[in-house]
Symmetry: C2
Subunit: 330 residues, 2 copies
C-alpha cells in the first residue's frame, strides 16, 4: 500500500480513466466511484466508465461521479491520452472490451485489485489479496492520503465492502475491514440508503427468481455439492439482470452440508456463467481456474460455451472427479 500511495502522490496531472469489470457488482461500482472521488481529491478529472449500465440497485451511488456506459462515450472522450485505472478485475478481458479498440491513445494500465487470481496485466500492479474488497483498498488509500472520506465516496466504498464480504461475515473479512466500515459510518456513509436500494429492493420478478433457484436446488456427494440453475426463460420472464442474480449462489451455500455451492446462469443460450462458493476445504479459485476462470479462495466463477443441460453435466462431472482426486484442496 505504501508503494501505491507514493505512486499516486507523485503522479503528474494527465487524463485518467477508471474502468471496472463488465456486469459490475457492488465492489466494481463502489471501487470505481470511490477511486473517481479519490482522483478528484488529488486534482484529476477522472472519466469513470463501464462496458455495462450501472444496475438500478447501485444507481443511488451516482451523484457527483457518474459511471458512463462505454457506448455513450463521444469521440473526443475516446481520443484522450488516458492513464487507465482498472478496478477489481483479475484479468484485463474482464472489462469486456479491448482497450486499444476504444481508446487508441491510452498510455498505460494501473491494475488495482484484490483477486488472488490477478495476472498482473498493468504497468503498475497494486494487487492486495488480503483486502476483502477492492473498495477496501480505495478506502484505506483515501484515509492515508486525504485523512477523511467525503460522505458520497464513503457510501460507495461501504457498498463495495459490504456486498463483497456478505456484510462482513465472509472469511476474507479482517478486523481492519470492520474498522474501515466503522470509520465509514463516522464519515456519514449512507448505510440506510445502501440497505434500502441494494438489499430491500427486490421486485416481484426477483422473488420469483429466488423461488426458481430453490425449486431447482439439488445435491451431489451427499450434499457436499449443492447446485442450482436459472434458465433463460426464468431470467427473461422475470426481467432478471446479472446484478439481480449475483447473490443467489448464497442459497446453495447456506445449506448445512454443502462445501461447494454452484449456480448455473443461462443468460444466453450458448454460454453459461457459473458462480462457485466454497466454505473451508476447497479452493474455489483453483477449481474455477480448471475451467479457465478465476476469483478468490472462497468465491470464483467461470463460463462454459455449451447449452445449459450439457454445461451442468460437464461441469458437475469434472467437479465431482476433481473433488474425489483432491485436486482443489486449500
Amino acid at each position: 500500500m505504501k508503494e501505491f500511495k507514493k505512486y499516486l502522490k507523485k503522479l503528474k496531472k494527465q487524463p485518467v480513466l477508471v474502468v471496472s469489470h463488465e456486469s459490475p457488482d457492488g465492489d466494481a461500482i463502489g471501487s470505481s466511484i470511490g477511486m473517481g472521488f479519490l482522483l478528484k481529491e488529488l486534482g484529476f478529472e477522472p472519466l469513470v466508465i463501464n462496458k455495462d449500465l450501472v444496475p438500478e440497485k447501485y444507481s443511488f451511488l451516482e451523484n457527483n461521479i457518474k459511471i458512463k456506459k462505454l457506448d455513450d462515450l463521444n469521440q473526443n472522450e475516446k481520443l484522450e491520452k488516458y492513464l487507465v485505472f482498472v478496478m477489481d478485475s483479475g484479468k484485463l478481458d474482464r472489462i469486456g472490451f479491448v482497450l486499444e479498440d476504444i481508446f487508441p491513445k491510452y498510455v498505460g494500465i494501473i491494475n488495482i485489485d484484490h483477486h488472488i487470481s490477478n495476472d498482473f496485466f498493468g504497468i503498475k500492479n497494486f494487487v492486495y489479496p488480503k483486502m476483502a474488497a477492492t473498495s477496501e483498498i480505495v478506502g484505506s488509500l483515501f484515509l492515508d492520503l486525504i485523512g477523511y472520506i467525503p460522505s458520497e465516496a464513503a457510501t460507495a466504498i461501504y457498498t463495495g465492502v459490504m456486498t463483497d464480504t456478505g456484510n462482513l461475515t465472509y472469511e476474507s473479512t479482517t478486523s481492519a475491514t470492520v474498522a474501515l466500515v466503522s470509520i465509514l459510518h463516522e464519515m456519514n456513509a449512507d448505510f440506510n440508503s445502501m440497505r434500502k436500494f441494494v438489499y430491500e429492493n427486490e421486485s416481484i420478478g426477483q422473488i420469483a427468481g429466488v423461488r426458481a433457484i430453490l425449486n431447482n436446488l439439488d445435491y451431489l456427494m451427499d450434499g457436499y455439492i449443492a447446485y442450482t440453475y436459472l434458465n433463460y426463460e426464468d431470467i427473461l420472464a422475470n426481467n432478471l439482470t446479472a446484478g439481480d442474480i449475483e447473490n443467489y449462489v448464497d442459497y446453495p451455500r447456506k445449506v448445512s452440508t454443502s462445501e461447494v455451492a454452484i449456480l448455473f446462469k443461462e443468460f444466453t443460450k450458448d454460454e453459461i456463467r457459473i458462480s462457485i462458493r466454497t466454505k473451508s476445504k476447497i479452493d474455489a479459485n483453483k477449481m474455477a481456474a480448471g475451467f479457465g476462470g478465476g476469483g478468490h479462495k472462497r468465491a470464483a466463477g467461470f463460463r462454459i460455451k455449451k447449452p445449459l443441460n450439457e454445461a451442468i453435466k460437464f461441469a458437475l462431472n469434472k467437479i465431482v472427479e476433481g473433488l474425489k482426486n483432491n485436486e482443489w484442496n486449500n
Copy 2:
C-alpha cells in the same frame, strides 16, 4: 452505562442467575453467554438458564458457559437466593415462566435490555434503546470493566450483535456498534464458526420453509404491506423451530415496495405469532403495542389467539385501517 458499571463493581458476592426470553434468538443467547462470562470475570458463579433449549445453530456458543433448560434444573439450583439478570426482554413475561414459581427465594431482578418497549420491571433497569443489541451492551461493559473480552465471550457477543442488526445493516447500527465488532475481531471472535453454524446451516426442511413463505407471499396497499405466513403443517413437515424461522420476515421486507413486512407463524393451532418489520415511516413497536406486543421501531412482534386465517384477516384489517389513519407514524 456509567451507572451500570458502578453497580456491577460494587455488587457483593451472591448467587446470580442469568435468564433471557423464551424462543431465544441470537441476541438472547449471545447476551446471556456474554453476561455469564462477564459475571465470571467479576468473581461470580452464574447459573445461565432459558425456558427453552438453545437452538442447534447457536449451540456452538456453549463451551465454558452452558445455558441450562429450565426443566433440567435440580431442586438445589432452584432454592438459591438469586439476584436475577434478565437479558433482552422488554417485559418480564417474555422469559416464559413466573420467576416466583421456580425460584421462590430470588431477591431481585436486574433488567438489561435495548428494547424501547421495555417496561422497567427490575429493581435496577439498565435499558439502552440506542444500543443495537443487548449483546452490544454486554460487549461495551466488558471492555470498560475488564479491558478485554475472552475469545469465547467475544464470539457470543459478536453473534448477538450481527444477528440482531442484519449484519450491521439495520438502522439501529451505529459506528460504535461497528467499532465494537472490529474489536471483537481483534479479540478472536470466531466469526467463521458463527457464519457456518448460524448462516450456512440450513437443512433441506428450512429451504422448504423459505420456498413456502415465498409461495405464500402476498401484498396489500399496492405492495406497501408485504405479508406471508407459515402454517402448522409446513412447520411440522419440515421440522422447523422458532429459531429456524426468525429471519424469514426478511423476505417480505426485501420487496422494494414494502414499508411494512409481516410474517404469521402458526406454531400452535390456537395462537399465531406475528413478526413485523418496518423500513422508515412506520413505528413497528407502536403497531405491535396496538396488539399487546412490543419491540423496536423497526422490528416488533405480537401474538393473536385465533386460528391462522382469522388471525391474518383480523391483523391485516386492523393494520390497513391503522396505516390509513396514520396511527403508527414515526
